[in-house]
Symmetry: C3
Subunit: 351 residues, 3 copies
């Protein structure tokens, strides 16, 4: 499977973003993760729950069932399950065998989204979820107008690896996003790549460069210094710091920070050839508010659309029946390392 | 192939409903049975005919041809076939080789529908078609307003076994059809399952139970006795008796029959993952007429839609690349027996 | 693969029509040939170019890139290629390795269309393209109003072989096109089949026959002599002479030519189950002009639609998982010979 070895699909013993908090309600919702259907809903107390999405009796989708209190009742033959997946009732018989349960997925609500553990539940260690304070996800606005907001969930018609490849080679900003956030200098400035246990970082410091169309349009600044520093918390989340300052070489306001934000790209394998793509951001500067986010959100939506376009176009170009081999460039150090690390994780968990 | 063993698709030496009589006309129509295309039409004398749906010359669909009298002429190169499938003309040559025929399917018109034999023609024994008088299909209305009517043909996007599973476990009425014909008590009353040569019967006698939403709305009766007694005439037709009476424990009109009908569910494999679903009914009581059928038909259409929804949803949940295993309940005695009997029939005919 | 042996798809060392000249512009366009994506565009000097359609870096479609002068820049990471396919720039590195090129396809513009060579470039011999003067394709109108015009490009949802089969058995005119150009006598008049190196010819001389609906409607002539003489220049182009004269047995104007035209059917494999179908014509008589072509073009479009309908219908009838075997008629001498010759060419080039 491009670009992994045969048999490698996705890391299972891992936390992935399953949904934004507001998406999961008392109305059961189906979503696929790692090629398995899952039903998501909230208990009366508001706790989010993730259970296997097929009834074990006749494979009917559990999301087509209904909640009676915290009991999810299959809409086909009425077999009922508690929020922990245990079967509580089989209408046609008195006894409820233990085998008749739905797999319950560990699910953790943090900040404004939900993390699902797709592997062996005994190995579900919450400390493996990226530390939300450390990555700048704020539960409440900061004193200086710092604000973290969920922006979009997209269901993308391409395999998840393509989204990681996209995020690990940011030289694409200069071309795919040339009409918005792109700067030619991002492609020509090489990135410093470092890595550790389940993380991979690519950082660029662009000096005295032509600003992007957006910076020019919004702030009227032509020459900037730009830091773009992305960490891939494997296998699920990319956290990117972006800081734009007026060039240190400028005649006026040299070095002044004009924009400082963090972006969060969560990528979750859905089916073999599709993925969930969650996007959130923290605006540290300039100060903003929920109300003022609309134009920023609209601008970002266009960028995300371009990334989705690229992903779906490449998916379309990959033959079903034979491998392709990407040629690598100097901009692909992180891509190559990322693919290898993911593949190692997959192989390790297969033992 | 869920839920059968590898290699088992469908019983071939069998009669299946191909169409309602009114669907087959002088306009050739294509319909697939057991993964083969068939063309259906009527001769000038009105006899319905079923021939292989591909021209043996260049595989062009025969239903795109035209009738000249009783001769079906291929629309591509004009090769012509009689109603018995024999080739009568090849425009480019004088001689017509015997090999150049269309397979003719035995086709029997009974009541208001057509039965096709999909297997070895030499084994096509009409006595294997369920006895229509015995199952209550009336050619003409009865003295007391008994009436048999064809109601719907649907092309369902799910494998035919799912429709049989549906019909062999009627506990689903309590849930999938809870807003119409469903009664909770149907699920909690166990069925008596009996079987014989090519038939399988599941009967429930529900006593003094809350009536279904429809019975309540139409007849204003709260407590009923209910008999639901389905026989699967394998492999093609389910015949179900449904009799609703005012509860024998009621203060007034105890035991009075308020509704007595028979339903006919004919299931015919179309492609590997689709099926034809024919529905007809005999209303024995209360007296009705063709004109009065409209609201009944509309109500039934909603129930059928729910069954089709369940079938197509489960089809969507079945992985293409690995088997699933259903967990069985006490309500599945007939399902298990039905699957086994069908599989035995398939294996027997493979010798 | 119906109707060829397993493993045979298409002749690769060959010229195929890729596009009409007017279709290829400064806007890069994607088109698939022999199951590979190709990008087509023109240089500033107007030369048409065909390069591999996937960027070797990350498989992004080159047609989604943009031209900077004659340099095609990938829209994803900015990797740039000259019109000969050589990589001229990789933004993230200084060195451009030789391996980093796009395959360049030999492309020849002749008359008003473009021929692409899909095989080994070293074997691309222009003399293998049918001689355009010899087949009657005129670059300019003739003194007597002779005119060659490109008419249509269609992307057909069926394997290319079906289009060749169609063109090699013209007895189909009598049936598939019975309401337009069809004459019953075409099917009953046997064709003389001759062949040579990479060509196959089927010619019919129809004498004193009922004219086609079109001839009757346009010229009011009931009995005609008709010559239809098609040569398949393998593997890509069918050239057909069609001459209709008033029957030599007619009382008046006996033998007068009322219509004399040449048709060009270029068939190019696109994907495994789709093909490009280009159609052009030369009207030799009666004299015509570009302006007067509209009704002729509309009439021909209907005929082409019928051929596409047949092709797509047959594609739909071919099972994915097992072979079918066509039964041949006396009208299939050219079909059988054509299939064999194509298959021999495929086998020869596999060595």
């Amino acid at each position: 499977m491009y670009p992994f070895s045969e048999g490698c699909f996705a890391v299972r013993n891992a936390w992935y973003v399953a949904a934004f908090s507001h998406e999961v309600t008392r109305e059961p919702m189906e979503r696929w993760f790692l090629d398995e259907p899952v039903v998501l809903f909230r208990t009366e107390a508001g706790t989010a729950v993730a259970l296997a999405g097929r009834c074990p009796h006749r494979q009917y989708p559990m999301a087509a069932g209904r909640l009676e209190g915290d009991i999810l009742v299959c809409g086909y033959h009425g077999i009922a399950f508690a929020a922990d997946g245990r079967c509580t009732r089989i209408p046609t018989q008195d006894r409820v065998p233990a085998a008749f349960g739905l797999r319950a997925y560990p699910l953790v609500e943090k900040w404004k989204w939900l993390w699902i553990w797709t592997g062996d539940p005994d190995k579900a260690d919450e400390s493996l979820i990226p530390d939300h304070a450390a990555i700048g996800l704020r539960d409440a606005p900061g004193a200086n107008g710092e604000l973290s907001v969920p922006l979009s969930h997209n269901h993308v018609g391409g395999r998840y690896q393509l989204l990681h490849d996209n995020l690990l080679d940011l030289s694409h900003l200069a071309f795919l996003h040339s009409s918005s956030i792109g700067m030619e200098a991002i492609a020509t400035t090489s990135d410093e790549v470092t890595s550790g246990d389940r993380w991979l970082r690519s950082a660029r410091h662009v000096r005295d460069a032509d600003s992007s169309p957006w910076i020019r349009a919004r702030y009227g600044v032509a020459k900037v210094d730009f830091v773009i520093d992305f960490t891939f918390h494997m296998p699920a989340l990319h956290v990117g710091l972006n800081r734009t300052s007026i060039s240190a070489d400028a005649a006026e306001r040299a070095g002044e920070v004009i924009r400082d934000s963090i972006v969060y790209h969560a990528v979750t394998p859905a089916r073999r050839h599709s993925a969930h793509y969650f996007f959130a951001t923290t605006i540290n500067a300039p100060a903003t508010s929920e109300e003022a986010m609309a134009p920023i959100a609209a601008g970002i939506a266009k960028v995300i659309e371009e990334d989705i376009f690229a992903t779906e176009e490449i998916e379309r170009m990959i033959p079903a029946d034979r491998p392709l081999r990407d040629l690598m460039t100097a901009g692909d150090v992180a891509v190559v390392k990322g693919r290898r690390m993911l593949e190692s994780m997959m192989k390790a968990e297969r033992g």
